[in-house]
Symmetry: C2
Subunit: 181 residues, 2 copies
C-alpha cells in the first residue's frame, strides 16, 4: 500500500504474476458470468493481458484482444481510439484497438485488474460501441469501492462483477467489503 | 508482412491473441525445455505476457515476471535496469524489473514472442545477471533467422529454442527454415 489510495499488487498481479491465482480468478469469472456467452475478451495492456488470457481458457478459449496504450491518432489508420484519463498517473492516454479485431454484433466481455474511477472501462466501452459490438459484462479483479467507478458503471446498467472490493485503505490497513454479487 | 523485415502477427500473437494456439506453444516450450526446471519465467511487456502466463501452466505454474518498458532510472529505486535498442522502432528503451522478484541462484527461463537482433533477450539476460540469477533457456515463438540475434545468443552458449524460424520475407512470401532443434 502506498499512501491511502494506491494499492500495490506487484507481487501477484501486475509485475510478478501468480499463474495459479490467475487460474482461480479465471474460474471465478466463468462462474459469475455463467449466464453470458461472450465472443471475445477485451482488455488493456499490460497487466490485463495475463489475466484475460488465463480467463479465456474458461470461456472456451475465445480470443483475447488488448487495447494498446499510447496510440497516436493517424488519419486513415485502421484503429478505433479512445482517450482515458489515469488518476493514478495524472495523464490522459489514448488507447487504440485495430478495426480488424472487433466487429458489429460481437458480444464483448471486458476484463481488467483494477476498477477505480472507471476511466479505462469507459474507454474500452467507447471502442466497443464504435465497432458496433455489444458490451456484455465487465470482470474486475480488484475494485476500489471507495471510488465511484463501480457505482457509475452499474448505474449505466453495465453488468460489473468484481472479485474483491476494497472499501478503505487507511493507516496501513486494507478493509474488504462485499462484492457486487 | 510489412516491407521485407517487419512481420505482422497482430492477428494471433500481439494484438488479438489466439489462446488455444498459446496453449500449443506452451506445451511445445515444455517439450523442448524438458531437461530444465526453471524457478521463474521472465518476459517483457506487453505481448510476451500472455505467452509467458499460458506457458507457465506447463511448468508447474511457476511465477511469471515481466520487465516494464519505459522505466526511468532513479537513484535509490528498487529496480534492475537495462537498455534495449529496438531496431523496429529505432529507439532505445530502458527496461526495469523490481529487485523483489529476481533473486540470486534462481534459474530463469526467458520467453518472448520474437527474436531478431537479440536486443531484448540481452537486456533481460543483463538484468538476470545483475540479480545473481541464472539464465537457463530462451524460448522464442518466432525467430527471424535472417537476422543475427539467434546466432549471437547461441554462440554465447545460451540454450535458445525457437518454435518457428522465418528464413526470408520477400515479395510477400514468408519462408520458414529449420528451427534450432
Amino acid at each position: 500500500m502506498i499512501g491511502s489510495d494506491i494499492l500495490k499488487v506487484d507481487m501477484f498481479l501486475n509485475h510478478q504474476i501468480d499463474v495459479k491465482l490467475l487460474n482461480d480468478i479465471g474460474k471465478e469469472f466463468r462462474r459469475v458470468f455463467s449466464g453470458i456467452r461472450p465472443d471475445k475478451i477485451l482488455t488493456i495492456e499490460a497487466s490485463g493481458i495475463g489475466i484475460a488470457c488465463i480467463a479465456a481458457q474458461y470461456f472456451d478459449n475465445i480470443p483475447v484482444v488488448f487495447a494498446k496504450k499510447g496510440a497516436h491518432r493517424n488519419v486513415g489508420s485502421n484503429l478505433y481510439y479512445s482517450d482515458v484519463f489515469s488518476y493514478t498517473k495524472g495523464v490522459t492516454c489514448t488507447i487504440g484497438v485495430s478495426k480488424d479485431y472487433l466487429h458489429a454484433g460481437e458480444k464483448i466481455l471486458i476484463i481488467d485488474d483494477f476498477l477505480a474511477k472507471g476511466g479505462a472501462v469507459l474507454g474500452l466501452k467507447d471502442i466497443i460501441e464504435q465497432a458496433g459490438a455489444q458490451l456484455c459484462g465487465v470482470g474486475i479483479v480488484i475494485e476500489k469501492g471507495f471510488q465511484d467507478g463501480g457505482e457509475k458503471l452499474r448505474r449505466m446498467g453495465i453488468n460489473v462483477q468484481s472479485l474483491a472490493v476494497v472499501q478503505s485503505m487507511r493507516d496501513g490497513k486494507i478493509s474488504f467489503g462485499k462484492g457486487s454479487r
